[in-house]
Symmetry: C2
Subunit: 1009 residues, 2 copies
């Protein structure tokens, strides 16, 4: 930097400080006083800030409050959330209300107080519950010299009906407000811009509210649907003279939002319209690129539009998602980075203020001062840009802006508390977060100097790094090194292209043959099985050789011969080979996913997740065997060393299902191999091609011949023969309860010459329930139920078949579910947006249809989806929901393994749990509830192997969610758990007397190497 | 302390310092010079001192060296012990020999060098391998003005023959030395004492060398046997004019040694004899009491004898034993405490020097100076006491003593290296230990002041506290709170009395009846089983009611009804009840042990250990369930909490064997209860009374009715009915392979209406082997084999049935084993010294006798013990060893469950392992070896659930040695392990989405309470 530029920078900084100080002065004058409501709300916020736990609890309580219909319910929840015996509340709370207040107060007092408090809080941030009150509020803002943009609360809609209601409210608002606006006196500062009048009525629209499937995986379809619903609204706004800003939401919708905005606004009818704006989020590391692309596009389009610069409101969730996927976060990890980015973009925007209209949305005095300073320096007049702030936040700052003659627009949420609770919580978070500027400037009275410092040069005090999320609390073992592989992000166009290419590639492989592999040699038998595409059975994906008994024998013999060398291979070397398999799986992940899409009809995301889980298994057991070998349990006493160690068992037969053709096959195989056993692999009949590709990879990485032998074939003979084989030590089976029980029964017989008890690792079916409590977030619940019950056409052992709904919310749930099922995406699996694909074969379709018939006879159909035309060829069954099903009905007791859901009514939570537990299975289960007491009870009493609270019940992750059930669902083995490998091994305790001639060794013992 | 006394104490201390300084000066003059061999040996010791691991390795190598018969074997062991890749040696070693010396040197050079080095070392501490060289050494000592006492190396003899050889050598030595002594010139300082001439020939005798069963549990018998063998030697010594000191060994022999000394020396023929001495160990906390009792006894006896005051040479082992039993150590835990005690006792001894002749055995200059100073002050002439030092240690000090005109006696070990290796190691330890005075005074050149400081006021530098033993190295989990209960010490006369009383009490209970207990109610059936004493079947111990099918049904129903309340009882409350059971078991431990002694014929120690193990199980699972409940595995991610937790399964049938009537029954029952299951208990037919007493205790502590139901009865009906019962969730069985396989087969069938897969926790038999390597410590091996094969007449699943001996040591082992078996204590179980009691019943006796017949037909009898007369009434079978048994012989393949041992010859270690592994069982196994490579291989390849190296293969301890086998020995469940409880439970993974409206909670999650 040369001298002049340095001088200039210094001048600029001092000007920023001047402006900032001016803002502070004006704001100080406008601070709420003790007799104002706002002062009291600030005090409450201050209380929450002192205690993280209390804050979380308070927000969670507020989050569920709108669903509580009675004073008793409110009192009860309040007690659960703030039970002083469970959560030590700060002393201030007790000082305020007196000790024991929770128990002492009458229910109705508690209920009314809580509701009053929440309404006060909500009222601060939400303009109104209805149009009259909202319009009144808007008019009051205008009387204070402030403009507005109206936002109808509601996002992530679950049905087309709801999307239409959402769009309809906007239409009506535009109509009514533009009509009223005619009466409003012109305020030059806010109603005129450089090139002419500025629309007085402005709205901000969220695209996820416009369609239940606004999903990047299928951009054309999403854009088509949303654009169709958006166009009438845009036309209305344009015709009535309103201004529309398209809001930006979480990053997974970002590209799609830009794309849709770009396309729509190039359409002839909108291309000239300049009262339209889009949002750029400075907390994204890509934000500046986004802005540059927008400015480029401005050139193509040729007409003006607005750009609102914000920092971004989803930091917590974006960060959490990144940490959970071990991915690089898309957002800046430190607040100051977002601030600095915001400032750089401010300059760019103002430099282009003749092409676009910039709006700076921030409550940060420094950010605002920088914007004003750049405008001054660049000669941008005050009517060429605006400042935006949120309704209810930073009111003193707003007053300061007005006093300083800045154009200020207030973002005004409108609507019910219920759908707006997400918005409210984000605002509360922002208001009380230690990172938030508002908090710092007023709450903490940090020195103005520090608050106005340049974020580009400031060192962070305590950075919000992802590390703070890794709190493993009091777990017994330290968090391992293991990291789950990430799923493919289909927001990326490149990935979508790769997947489409891979599907083409697999289509091209049709007719390939897949022989048996025994002792490393290909064996072609005379019998071949045609593996077809269940979405279009005329397409043969591959020909798979079918093993005869003699082949099974040869495979077991080969596995037995390969056993000793494999057992003697060092654990770290075995682990290294396993990791290579994982690497190859990742290299070929699109091809493998495409194979599953075409061979078993898995939808894109499910097939992709299947590969991810497979990769996880190979890596996880590699890590586990290294841990087991290198860190045996020691109990060394003086003169006596004790070690608990594990040895492999021998030959393991792996018998796997089509439901997870790669993941479950990989899980059982990799565990067996990691432990030092050799494998005879019998894949599912309909997933032979997928399995053959795994075997191919095993060969490619150099797995020794005979270590894994591949013998697809008819279950009746191959499986039976394997079970009874006297030289098979482990039977690892995943499949139906009927076959599984047979495996256990036959495997338990010690046959002549068999010198061991067979180990049976048997995972079977489920009849899985989700309970919907009366305080549940129904929006989230419906989405989760749809995915749990119908994804992959319900062909997972973990799928939901029963929906147990508390009486109080039964009808509400019914309505929402009905609407959601009506628009669930059904189609061939290779269509990217498909959620519900075909069943595996004709037999499965017939079996499920029989269950549907049984359901029709004994229950009423709540909703049955319609099959689109493209489903005619495949083995499709449309999703169906039966209502008011009796708990003991066959469809609520037997495993259907199809897209059939039984909705069951429960009088109360006790009954709901009873119904849920009253089957012969115990695999997965779910609960949607916001009652801490009910959640605790479910954790104790819901008899399932995997319980999921407030999320879908499928999609367990290796290590985080060890998977497996009990009762008739399995032998209680948890796949993907630190203990899984131990089932494939024999425990050995080794005791060495180390006392020799009275000498107690002092050296540390080395372990068996 | 008044002034005069303080003055006097100060004077005394300054005199001690004067004398000490004088000793140091004389010693300094006599230090070895670089041209002397001793100087080089000091250097080697110094090298070892720098590295604990190297020191341990060096001692272990020296320990096994005498058994290595070839240069190749020596080279091989040297490489194994000092492999530079496995153990990083100090640089000095490589500097001395050059890097890679181990690989470079030729085998014969290595072998010869090692042997030379060891002989040099041994030669320093051992007077001679034969009489001529030994006598020559003694004469050299006398020529330097030093007296001697001769000690024949050898302790803990395993047979009467060996005891007789040991006594014989002493007899011959006394003969020859006294004959030679006539020629020796008189040295007044050492050959005369105050009251007359002092015998020139002195010997020191260890009583454990005199009898294989010198055991405090049966003091009369032990004293009788040892006295019989000692009297001829004493008479010979008395007649020939030699002086005899009875050595003191480990503390478990202490009381017995005093007792025997006291009785013998009161016998008329020895009462007047004053050339006899005994030893007092100052490192014992009881040492001063011991001395006072001896002085009291001196009064009764009326004639003089000698008392040798030592510090004690078994500190390591005494301390280790105390730590392992969580007991208060009998020795002082700090060196300075022993030193101070030694000084106090020195004064006492010198105050009584007219009654006894004191000998002060020490290499501590301070201790010696104190003795000399007290003698001066008390006016004890120099010929009234003596100083003793060990041959080969502290030679400069010895020289100093002689120069100062003190009477010095050197303790001279005589004999082969082999039996003397224990002695040698103790000396090496003493010489190189950081605690040892010799090391400090010369090796470290610590300042004389510090060395002469009063130990009573010195603060310890780094105390040798028991804590240093608790090194749990890199174990995954921290050492738990669990402490094994201690066994009863039968060195205590009080405990012996209690056990005798308890046996009388149980005799008195005969005829008692024991009803079923169902749902807390007594149920008497018409059918009763007479439980008899197998040592004397005419005695009926109790009448036990026999359940019918209807009773079993009622029991399961009661257990089912009790299940829910018990499951809902908090884990800590369940644990508290379990701990109460343990406390009651301990309170009634003598009665319970006595019950087992009489009901199943368990010898004293075994019955006592059975109670201990039972106590451990109740406490251990109480602790485990608390751990499982309070510390679930957490894998919390941002926005998602994951917890792995466990729930009980339901009703558990416990079916237990007679082998461990209380311990195994307790293990399965306590685990089931801890986990939250309820129990239906079917005890072994012959152990009903013992089981009934446990049930009585369960009732007494307030176990809720129905939680444990007691249904003894005929196995054929009760067990079968339980296995097939559709309401029994867990089958916990311990017993024979035949019954166990049936349990598994029948239990695996899912019966109509049964909504779960039964969990089968099945422990079965074994055919357990001990391998004797060619470098094994045969003495230790023989003792361990005898205990493993014949204790409780071999009726443990862990008992040894095969002894696989390497060709090279086969004959040696045969000889020792034969001698040892001939004198193994057989008798009724209530006789305290009994090791081999009766079999459980006539049927068992017949079955074992059949096996003996089979053995006789196919193999040769090496040795068969003879049954004493008192065994006529019971179900006794004498221990028998077959020699050169073929590995595939029936007696080497089938489970005999009796005192039958097959000795098998193996050409080499490979073959030995092959033979060991070549059965259908895999329960316990043992190895005696001092080859690190072979020990490592066995740890990897010896296919057993519990492998024991260099110790007996029975007697696993809860927690330290999780117990259980695989193949046909069991289902791989490890009892007494941290994982055992998990088999009685269902694993449940609970996933909670904690993200609500975008809020990631920062609070730490509390667990399910």
């Amino acid at each position: 930097m040369n001298n002049r530029r340095r001088q200039s920078a210094a001048n600029f900084e001092s000007r920023v400080r001047e402006i900032g100080m001016e803002i502070f002065e004006h704001a100080e004058d406008a601070r709420p006083q003790v007799w104002q409501k706002a002062w009291w709300l600030d005090r409450v916020m201050g209380l929450l800030d002192r205690d993280e736990r209390l804050r979380t609890r308070a927000f969670q309580f507020v989050d569920c409050l709108p669903t509580l219909s009675s004073n008793a319910a409110i009192a009860c929840h309040l007690a659960e959330y703030f039970d002083p015996e469970r959560y030590s509340l700060p002393r201030a709370v007790h000082a305020l209300f007196g000790t024991g207040w929770l128990r002492r107060w009458r229910e109705d007092v508690v209920g009314r107080t809580a509701r009053f408090g929440a309404r006060q809080m909500a009222g601060r941030f939400i303009t109104g519950y209805d149009m009259p009150s909202s319009i009144q509020m808007i008019e009051r803002l205008r009387s204070q010299g402030m403009a507005f943009t109206l936002d109808v609360l509601g996002e992530s809609t679950t049905s087309r009906q709801r999307a239409e209601v959402y769009a309809g409210i906007y239409m009506e608002l535009v109509d009514r407000l533009t009509r009223m606006a005619r009466e409003w006196p012109v305020i030059r500062l806010i109603d005129e811009e450089r090139i002419g009048p500025m629309p007085r009525v402005q709205i901000s629209v969220k695209l996820t509210g416009m369609d239940p499937h606004f999903d990047a995986i299928d951009p054309e379809r999403s854009i088509h649907n949303v654009a169709d619903r958006l166009r009438p609204l845009l036309r209305r706004a344009r015709d009535r003279g309103a201004y529309v800003t398209i809001d930006m939401e979480s990053s997974k919708h970002r590209e799609l939002t830009f794309e849709l905005f770009g396309r729509l606004m190039m359409e002839p009818e909108f291309r000239e319209w300049d009262h339209i704006a889009i949002v750029v989020q400075a907390y994204l590391q890509e934000a500046e690129n986004d802005l540059h692309r927008l400015l480029e596009w401005r050139g193509k389009r040729g007409s003006r539009f607005g750009i609102r610069l914000v920092k971004g409101a989803y930091w917590d969730a974006e960060m959490a998602a990144a940490v959970r996927q071990y991915a690089k976060p898309l957002v800046w990890t430190e607040k100051r980075q977002s601030d600095a980015c915001f400032e750089r973009m401010t300059r760019t925007l103002l430099e282009n203020a003749d092409l676009v209209r910039p709006a700076f949305a921030s409550h940060n005095v420094r950010s605002l001062a920088v914007a004003i300073a750049w405008a001054e320096r660049l000669g941008v007049p005050r009517n060429a840009y605006e400042v935006q702030m949120l309704y209810g936040m930073g009111d003193p700052l707003k007053a300061a802006m007005v006093r300083m003659g800045q154009c200020l627009r207030v973002y005004c949420p409108y609507g019910d508390l219920m759908p707006g609770m997400g918005y409210l919580i984000r605002r509360l978070l922002e208001n009380s977060s230690n990172e938030g500027f508002l908090k710092q400037s007023f709450g903490l009275r940090a020195s103005h100097d520090r608050l106005l410092a340049d974020p580009a040069v400031v060192k962070p005090a305590s950075a919000a790094s992802p590390a703070r999320f890794y709190q493993n609390s009091d777990a017994e073992e330290p968090m391992g090194e293991f990291k789950n592989a990430g799923n493919t992000s289909f927001t990326s166009a490149e990935n979508r292209k790769k997947m489409l290419g891979a599907i083409q590639y697999v289509h091209g492989e049709r007719g390939r043959t897949y022989p048996l592999i025994v002792n490393g040699q290909s064996v072609s038998t005379k019998s071949w099985f045609e593996s077809v595409n269940p979405s279009d059975p005329e397409e043969v994906i591959g020909q798979v050789a079918q093993a005869r008994v003699v082949d099974v024998d040869a495979a077991v013999t080969a596995a037995r011969a390969a056993y000793l060398p494999w057992r003697m291979t060092r654990a770290i070397d075995r682990a290294q080979l396993l990791r290579k398999v994982a690497d190859r799986l990742e290299m070929r992940r699109f091809e493998l996913a495409a194979t599953m899409i075409l061979e078993v009809g898995k939808p894109w995301r499910e097939a992709d997740a299947d590969v991810t889980e497979a990769v996880d298994h190979w890596r996880y057991y590699a890590e586990q065997i290294e841990r087991i070998e290198s860190r045996p349990r020691l109990r060394n006493l003086p003169g006596e060393d004790n070690m608990l160690t594990y040895s492999p068992k021998g030959v393991c037969a792996v018998i796997s299902p089509y439901a997870f053709p790669l993941a479950i096959l990989s899980g059982m195989t990799s565990a067996a191999l990691a432990a030092g056993n050799t494998v005879v692999m019998k894949p599912a009949r309909h997933a032979g091609v997928t399995a053959a590709k795994l075997v191919e990879i095993l060969h490619d990485v150099g797995m020794p011949a005979g270590t894994v032998n591949f013998i697809p074939g008819p279950g009746a003979t191959v499986v039976q023969y394997l079970i009874e084989h006297g030289d098979v030590n482990i039977l690892a089976f995943t499949g139906s309860h009927e076959v599984g029980a047979g495996v256990i029964r036959a495997g338990a017989i010690v046959r002549p010459g068999q010198a061991f008890i067979k180990k049976m690792i048997v995972e079977m079916g489920g009849q899985n329930a989700i309970i919907i409590d009366d305080d549940a977030d129904l929006n989230g619940a419906v989405q989760a139920v749809i995915e749990s019950a119908f994804a992959f056409a319900g062909q997972k052992c973990s799928s939901c078949s029963r929906l147990i709904v508390l009486d109080e919310v039964y009808e509400a749930m019914e309505t929402r579910l009905k609407e959601a099922v009506e628009c669930v995406p059904i189609g061939p699996a290779d269509q990217p947006s498909t959620l519900v694909g075909p069943l595996i074969d004709e037999e499965a379709r017939r079996r499920v249809q029989d269950y549907v018939e049984v359901g029709r006879e004994t229950s009423t159909v709540l909703v049955e989806a319609r099959l689109p035309a493209e489903c005619e060829k495949g083995y499709f069954v449309p999703p169906i929901v039966f209502g008011d099903v009796r708990p003991d009905a066959r469809i609520a007791q037997e495993e259907v393994f199809g897209p059939v859901l039984s909705m069951i009514r429960a009088a109360d939570f006790d009954e709901a749990l009873d119904i849920a537990n009253n089957t012969r299975y115990a695999l997965t289960g779910g609960l949607f509830s916001r009652s801490p007491a009910h959640i605790d009870r479910a954790k104790r009493e819901f008899a399932v192997g995997n319980l999921y609270v407030n999320r879908k019940i499928t999609g367990s992750q290796v290590d985080a969610q060890p998977f497996g059930g009990f009762r008739l669902s399995g032998t209680g083995v948890k796949a993907g758990s630190p203990d899984y490998l131990l089932h494939f091994m024999d425990a050995r305790c080794i005791t060495e007397n180390t006392l020799r001639s009275g000498l107690v060794p002092r050296e540390e013992k080395s372990t068996v190497s």
